[in-house]
């Protein structure tokens, strides 16, 4: 029966009941981590096996008392900066984080030059 085929396909995934996201803190943390298999999804949404494993790992780290920064360090040691959705602030990313502000200042500067209040 074709239906048993679907059942087999779905059941073979067999959810870890502990894999469900339990807290808002977890969700927000997972949303900042990129799934390396389904690279368009965060760890909060991806159902890839590696994502399931990584969620388990991160939960263990939370239990052990790791801070958010420490968890991110743990992940980047293994996967590089690619795994974080929020780019870290360092020399290489400076343009990324400061660029918008710079552009805004240039714009404001230009704006001030062009507008003069005629009294």
């Amino acid at each position: 029966m074709r239906f048993s085929l679907i059942l087999v396909l779905i059941y073979s995934v067999n959810l870890w009941s502990q894999d469900l996201i339990q807290t808002e803190y977890e969700r927000q943390l997972f949303e900042q981590i990129r799934c390396l298999v389904c690279q368009n999804q965060s760890l909060a949404d991806s159902q890839a096996p590696l994502a399931i494993d990584l969620r388990r790992e991160v939960r263990e780290l939370i239990e052990l008392g790791y801070s958010e920064e420490q968890i991110f360090d743990y992940l980047t040691q293994r996967y590089g900066d690619f795994v974080l959705y929020r780019p870290r602030f360092n020399a290489v990313n400076a343009i990324l984080w400061l660029g918008p502000a710079c552009m805004l200042f240039i714009a404001i500067f230009g704006f001030i030059r062009v507008t003069r209040t005629k009294i």
Binding site: R2, F3, L5, I6, L7, L9, I10, Y11, V13, N14, L15, W16, S17, D19, L20, I21, Q22, R27, E31, Q32, R34, Q39, N40, Q41, S42, D45, Q47, G80, D81, F82, V83, L84, Y85, R86, P87, R88, V92, N93, I95, L96, G99, P100, M103, L104, A107, I108, G110, F111, V114, T115, R116, T117, K118
Partner: protein
């Protein structure tokens, strides 16, 4: 057969586009009658491309699997309506749609506006001819939908199940209409640069085109967001995915463009701004096309990851934009006026508006291609995702919200400060009212929550106060009618902001394992997992759960599914949503736990999420009304 005639049609249109890109322009310089070739050529090109498109559609309807593109994107079991939409389901067909729409816009331009401004419009059509030449060439040589399959194929691959959906039916056409429509102001601006003359009256016939393409772009993006929300199963409405960004950037510029056009039409200034923004807008459109198809970025939307195609488009973009920007660099100074603006003038507010929108757009561009830049320089790989964009974009928009509310009330040349003093009452209400409501309802809040609601109410009240003034102070109500599209659009914006603030701050999501015939509590409602059954669709099989929700208002049933389409090997999730204006309730079915008596579910509560799309739609309606009103003005003139 179809393949042969399809290719023939493409070749003909290619040749005609070549003629169109050369002759009217040459006719302009030689001042001979070749200028008048523009309209007939434009029409002929449209006919040729339309024939090609119709042939491709027929190939889909007839399951013509000898054509590779049809075999890759369709299937005999595919429901009829989706055979129509599958035409644009893949890279080659979607490019054909793109070029069809460009041709449609150019015909409309030729039929409607040529008489108002023959020289400029002929030149513009010639510029469009150049673009058509490039894109048809791209299709014919690298991405030909009429290519034959190398072997006999009895049954096609099927359309990606994610695309078998009504939302997907209208989203690409709307989006493309908008994207492609930006070619009109672009072509106009290049024509202006060629001529070295720009009269503010010319914007009178151009403005309806601007607001129309802006409206389509708004609708297209909104549909994409709505579709992603219910189809992708995660409940998000915007992901800052590279392709979403690729559509949002032109929208920001198109918005700046409409506002800039208002200044140029009324006051004759901001001409070089207008030209620059037109070029940038279309540049971002083309860039968006490039990003999705070249394999340069990872995206959920990526069509073809083919660097050789990417190179073709890049060269094409390089030529089109390189030439236009060079022209701009050489000629734009002719159009600059060295007036200083008064700080409190409408021009000044609109200039600030332009600046914020441009900076926002460039920021999104920066974030989207930064990983690419670093990787190209060997500096490693990073990701730039929602956390970055959410933060930076929010900060950029906050001052803009303030400016919008003030700018609506400003006067040309100079406003008296007393005008703004009366807005103080509005400000006070806009700030105090939401704060009181939040405190009274004892809701959680952050500074961003408050800023969101203040922005909403500030823009809404400011707009309505202005509308009221026009309506009640003006006997003929002419000024009110003229400003009506603006009033509607800005109200739409306010509603949009309200929706976003509610969803971002008061959504609730949980994931739970629920056993069959048991219930859980979520969001002060009871959710009972009552039944699990098998369901058969036209081209899929599914497991469906029945979840009965009970709350103070009664009962609602939800039927989330896991579906497997005939040619897929993994199960997709089809969320079950109950929607009304005040909230969405969203249930998605996950995986079974230890057999099939317990399943993982995701439940979401999304307050006022419909207002996000409703607000955007209202903005688009404002754009449509503007188009109709301005067009009627033209015909009467």
């Amino acid at each position: 057969m179809i393949s042969f005639f399809g290719n023939l049609a493409l070749v003909i249109s290619l040749a005609l586009a070549l003629v169109l890109s050369i002759f009217p322009v040459t006719g302009y310089f030689l001042n001979n009658e070749w200028k008048s070739l523009a309209r007939p050529l434009t029409l002929l090109i449209f006919i040729a491309i339309a024939i090609a498109y119709v042939l491709l559609t027929l190939a889909f309807l007839n399951d013509e699997f000898s054509i590779l593109y049809v075999a890759s994107n369709s299937n005999t079991q595919l429901p009829l309506i989706y055979k129509f939409t599958a035409v644009w389901g893949g890279h080659e067909g979607s490019m054909l749609l793109w070029v069809l729409f460009l041709s449609v816009w150019s015909v409309a331009l030729a039929m409607i506006s040529l008489r108002h401004d023959p020289v400029t419009v002929s030149l513009s059509l010639s510029v469009i001819g150049f673009v058509l030449l490039g894109i048809i060439g791209f299709i014919f040589f690298t991405s030909n939908p009429f290519d034959l399959s190398p072997r006999i194929i009895a049954e096609g691959n099927d359309l990606n199940p994610l695309l078998q959906d009504p939302g997907m039916a209208i989203h690409p056409p709307m989006l493309y209409l908008g994207y492609v429509g930006l070619a009109i102001p672009f072509a106009f601006s290049v024509a202006i640069l060629i001529q070295g003359k720009f009269q503010q009256q010319q914007l009178t016939w151009l403005r309806p085109w601007l607001s129309l393409c802006w409206a389509f772009l708004t609708i297209g993006i909104t549909l994409g967001s709505w579709w992603a929300y219910y189809e992708l199963g995660w409940g998000g409405w915007w992901f800052w995915d590279p392709v979403e960004n690729a559509s949002f950037m032109p929208w920001l510029i198109a918005t700046a463009l409409i506002h800039s056009a208002a200044v140029t039409e009324s006051r004759g200034s901001f001409k070089s701004w207008f030209i620059l923004l037109s070029i940038i807008g279309f540049a971002l459109s083309l860039l968006g096309t490039f990003l999705v198809r070249s394999g340069v970025l990872v995206s959920v939307h990526a069509f073809a990851s083919d660097p050789s195609r990417g190179l073709f488009i890049l060269v094409l973009i390089g030529l089109i934009l390189g030439i236009s920007l060079l022209l701009f660099a050489l000629r734009a100074r002719v159009f600059t006026s060295n007036q200083t603006l008064n700080l409190l003038s409408k021009e000044s507010f609109l200039l600030a508006n332009n600046l914020f929108l441009l900076v926002a757009s460039l920021t999104i561009l920066l974030g989207t291609i930064y990983p690419l830049i670093l990787d190209g320089m060997g500096l490693g790989k990073i990701s730039v995702g929602a956390p970055y964009f959410d933060l930076i974009f929010l900060y950029l928009m906050i001052p803009l919200m303030l400016i919008i509310g003030l700018g609506i009330h400003s006067d040309w040349i100079k406003s008296s400060s007393s005008k703004f003093r009366k807005l103080i009452k509005v400000t006070i209400i806009a700030v105090i009212l939401p704060t009181l409501i939040i405190l009274f309802l004892d809701l959680d809040f952050s500074i961003f929550t408050l800023v969101g609601y203040w922005s909403f109410l500030w823009i809404l009240l400011s707009t309505l106060v202005w509308a009221g003034q026009l309506f009640f102070n003006d006997k003929s109500k002419a000024a009110f009618r003229q400003q009506l599209p603006m009033i509607i659009a800005h109200s739409g914006l306010a509603i949009f902001i309200f929706g976003v603030t509610c969803v971002n701050n008061y959504s609730q999501t949980i994931e739970e394992v629920v056993a069959l015939n048991s219930s859980i509590e979520f969001n002060e409602r009871e959710w009972f997992f009552g039944d699990l059954r098998e369901v058969e669709g036209p081209n899929y099989l599914a497991i469906e759960a029945e979840v009965i929700m009970t709350d103070a208002n009664g009962t609602i049933n939800f039927y989330p599914q896991r579906r497997i389409y005939s040619n897929q090997s993994s199960a997709m999730t089809e969320a079950s949503i109950d929607a009304n204006l005040s909230r969405d309730l969203f249930v998605a079915l996950g995986d079974p736990v230890n057999g099939s008596s317990e399943w993982g579910f995701r439940f979401q509560y999304r307050p006022f999420i419909r207002l996000i799309w409703l607000g955007a739609l209202i903005m688009a309606i404002g754009g449509m009304i503007s188009t109709i009103m301005n067009h009627r003005k033209l015909r009467l003139a």
